[in-house]
Point group: D2
Chain length 344, copies 4
Amino acid sequence: MYSFKNDYSDGGHPLILQALVETSAFQTEGYGEDRFTAEAVEILKKAMQRQDADIHFLSGGTLTNLTALSAFLRPHEAVISAHSGHIYVHETGSVEATGHKVFPVATEDGKLRPEHIRSVVEEHHFEHMVKPKLVYLSQSTEIGTIYSRREVKALRDICNELNLYMYMDGARLSYALTSTENDLTLPEIAEFFDAFYIGGTKCGALFGEALAIMNEDLKPEFRYIMKQRGGILAKGRLLAIQFLTLFRDGLFFKLGENGNRLAGKLQKGILDLGYKVQFESSTNQIFPIFPENTILELEKKFQFYRWEKLEDNTSSVRLICSWMTGEKYVDEFIRVLGSFSNAD
Amino acid sequence: MYSFKNDYSDGGHPLILQALVETSAFQTEGYGEDRFTAEAVEILKKAMQRQDADIHFLSGGTLTNLTALSAFLRPHEAVISAHSGHIYVHETGSVEATGHKVFPVATEDGKLRPEHIRSVVEEHHFEHMVKPKLVYLSQSTEIGTIYSRREVKALRDICNELNLYMYMDGARLSYALTSTENDLTLPEIAEFFDAFYIGGTKCGALFGEALAIMNEDLKPEFRYIMKQRGGILAKGRLLAIQFLTLFRDGLFFKLGENGNRLAGKLQKGILDLGYKVQFESSTNQIFPIFPENTILELEKKFQFYRWEKLEDNTSSVRLICSWMTGEKYVDEFIRVLGSFSNAD
Amino acid sequence: MYSFKNDYSDGGHPLILQALVETSAFQTEGYGEDRFTAEAVEILKKAMQRQDADIHFLSGGTLTNLTALSAFLRPHEAVISAHSGHIYVHETGSVEATGHKVFPVATEDGKLRPEHIRSVVEEHHFEHMVKPKLVYLSQSTEIGTIYSRREVKALRDICNELNLYMYMDGARLSYALTSTENDLTLPEIAEFFDAFYIGGTKCGALFGEALAIMNEDLKPEFRYIMKQRGGILAKGRLLAIQFLTLFRDGLFFKLGENGNRLAGKLQKGILDLGYKVQFESSTNQIFPIFPENTILELEKKFQFYRWEKLEDNTSSVRLICSWMTGEKYVDEFIRVLGSFSNAD
Amino acid sequence: MYSFKNDYSDGGHPLILQALVETSAFQTEGYGEDRFTAEAVEILKKAMQRQDADIHFLSGGTLTNLTALSAFLRPHEAVISAHSGHIYVHETGSVEATGHKVFPVATEDGKLRPEHIRSVVEEHHFEHMVKPKLVYLSQSTEIGTIYSRREVKALRDICNELNLYMYMDGARLSYALTSTENDLTLPEIAEFFDAFYIGGTKCGALFGEALAIMNEDLKPEFRYIMKQRGGILAKGRLLAIQFLTLFRDGLFFKLGENGNRLAGKLQKGILDLGYKVQFESSTNQIFPIFPENTILELEKKFQFYRWEKLEDNTSSVRLICSWMTGEKYVDEFIRVLGSFSNAD
């Protein structure tokens, strides 16, 4: 049964596997001190047009987030996140486990706005409260929306004003950067954010994320903390080889486009059949609303997550198209859904 | 230049890469809830003859150690380790970073003995001191030695008497289990230890360790803490597929034997040339002692770590043979070393 | 200028100072292993009618909360608190600093209800989320309200159903227990809660809180963690002597009554002059609403905290009467306020 | 039975109790924002001749140490301590509980030397190991010895060279400063150390320590972390009033002298009777060696701690004279001991 559950349901892109196979017999230094890592760092610096970027490869998103945030913050400093932010909801309190409070902001569309930041900072005005110091946002967000260049700029401005770090969780950055609505480039991201990571796991890699630290204050001795959190892989080259493959000929962007294009087609097909969506997404996650009996029928043919119970016995569901999704499954979904509608 | 520095200098075994390639196109559930993980768990349970083992796959040794130990201990409980133990020396204080003191015991051969344990526990007798609760040992040890069945049994007895957990870091367990001096089986290890991990990274896997929790008290909700520490890989199947390959036809043991056999040959060759070794090793790490000028010459032809400065202008070095080491490099090393001796 | 800011603006009750003076020349064991501590433990056990209570004295509320909660919870377990809960707002993330997420629930009156608890637990249903394990509530709450016996019973029932601990922050327990609306006794509190503390600092003591652990599972080795957090006072007797004085002849309750009676008189006087209050309080904190110019005038004569900006250019303020407050200041406040009204 | 066990067996000095009584009825701000605290800060700045000192009052030594060290260090930074250091042995791993390794150095006399520091730093040379960053020492040490001005200067020099912080645990600083062997002044201590605390608990105060932060880099936002660790007392004035009393007319030094003078008399008396001491102490802790049967007899008349079993059925014991010790007990001890000798 085909699954629209996730963008990590598949293995890795064939070119990535091929690269791992081809390089496997070479001896290298361990712990990311090898030539593949040096090359991958260079290719990423070039992609973000910043020779001063401090780049580290880690094996997963939660590990990257908790390592980076605990390295950047003093004990009393806290994180501001959307209520729907991955670190607030779905990482088992990993940031709190390193000692830092994560302060949630309720939002409709998963996106933080300058007034949220100002309000949280103003509320926390003295030493009996934590000190908000880092703004965490996801691009694309957990509900498929993206920040525009203007929106990110406005957040950067208030972070400058209030002396806050700005950090981006880019688990699905490939889909954000290749959305038809996107107007933000990777070099601009490198300008705006103090640190961010480029997600490999959800875009063709077997596993791996590339953390880029841009703010000079946050760079010193990061690898100590990375090792302390278990984040330095013995065969660090494995991560580098995957990112080299993703960025050498633009594979990363092509794979992102595939997910977006098919999710777009799927969403359009669903809307054309008269259904609605819960959130406006231009990336690879879509959130259509179906009646309960339609969902039950769909579940016989496809795997996907139910998202939220809504009124009138309907619910939203989450459908994800990935770098790997085949068009035929999208067509099939629309066809199956159409057959129910006809039957009504 | 050939490197004897590490057993993680190479990529992965061809069969492992092949298995990853062959399974890559299959969709599965994420986070280790897939059928490959279920199969790998079964094959490991069978190998340890314990259907009740609670088995988890993580991507590296430091991450495994810190996740397990922080899950097992209450805040005031501490770890007893040999002074040379990997967690005490080489993991950037990762266990302390989770809040637990690691108490070091000086040993000659890297091995803890019952009297060490008793002495530490007796010293820590009241609430102004941490409470030693877990004995950490490595098999093989960081200097290539191994615990015999009798030695492990004696440690188990004192741990029972003093109500301590016993944990094994099995980063190099493949080499320990296949040492010619070994008399301890995997099922016996599963009997003696409360928890232990089987290292994949240093024995043919690209990456990955298999943690087995045997003590019922330590099993509940372990995956919560694993997720909190960033230890649940999104594509958990990657780890499972590698362990399936390692354990399906005994590959894990064959690879261990290769490292031991060649290290043994290398050590014998060195001894035959009249040199001495710092530690008696029967596994894949050996520690010969050379004069400074010999080391300088060897460094022109091979990579390896200097270990310790000794008297008379000599030093020990560490030479590692791995699952991947080719016999010709061993022969070459002996030949080169022999040529120096002749020249003297 | 008289201050209605706090119930910790004064020193200690004369009887407490006298007791400290009288006992000062006696030598005792340190760290709470003295006879005064033994006596104080007995008198508190008697007051709560529970010989099995495990009682510890600490020097302040934040230290008590963070020590208790970090001792009771495993790393992935989280706390449920009202959004206005002291640990969530005003302890600089002290609980998160020990690694545990505090999950906030928005409430109107500062009180948690069973449906809140159920909802939070149902939301957190799997290992990618923290596991709610402890319900934290304050009695009286941070806005002066109190839980009735029926309300606490209902919370206990759902905690039993959902296997949660229930913990009470009793910084102002003296005022709760002596409220005219209270129907909950100290022995009942000892029945309902897994652990709670009786606040001394805000009720006549110089400093000190008495933590009572009732649940057997939470008692073992608590003093280790107390020492680890810096919570065992060298001269533990100082805390014990104060609690002995507070509980020997019911002083604790008399002092609570004083605060409540005067706060009630103050609130009635304010209401009689035609003003409103933001929250319905029956304890020693009241929250009247005044126009801005009235507040500015009052600030010339009295100290107090502004609480919240409301509509129509009014704000609520917080006025606290304590164990020490003299009636004349209350009368004076009403007189001054009345003079403004007359002037309008 | 008179106790020589501790310097915290008594209550507080009469002048301190009197000051607390006299100021008790005054209302002040809470949390150390009161005028007594401001005054106490001034008097201490004057005593250390440093207007730039950042001074904080906390209620105990363990709490002071853990708060300071966790505020000063980044997550991967570690502490160097003598093996006998209080934080290493007797604070239940409180520093490790905040995430930092404490590295022990074996010493004969409880004192760190430059070569110890250099050796630890050289051993820890890369990111797989913690980074030593702070040198912790106690003055007087846990075995009664003191650092001379020259010794402290040498440690400061190496700390400068290796970019380390230097921190002094001054739980017994009063006894160190008034030792007949001392040549180090409080202003010099303020010059040499990045931070240190002046102990009140063991020198006449009921409780309380005064932490002085001298290094500008370590000052910002310290009170946030102090609050987070439960270290800001609600009635902060209590601590200030005690330090005001101790430092207004040199009481602190007079009390220290009393302990030293009597310990010196006690030690001389014991030596004159032909016994030996384990450590050379010039402060208020002495460590005579007695045969087992002598100890058993002494235990019938006095309380004290056994320290260490030595050869020939002898043990050392620890005898402490404090700010409060009466000369008659010292005379009595010598008389009793002398009577045994006569009886032999």
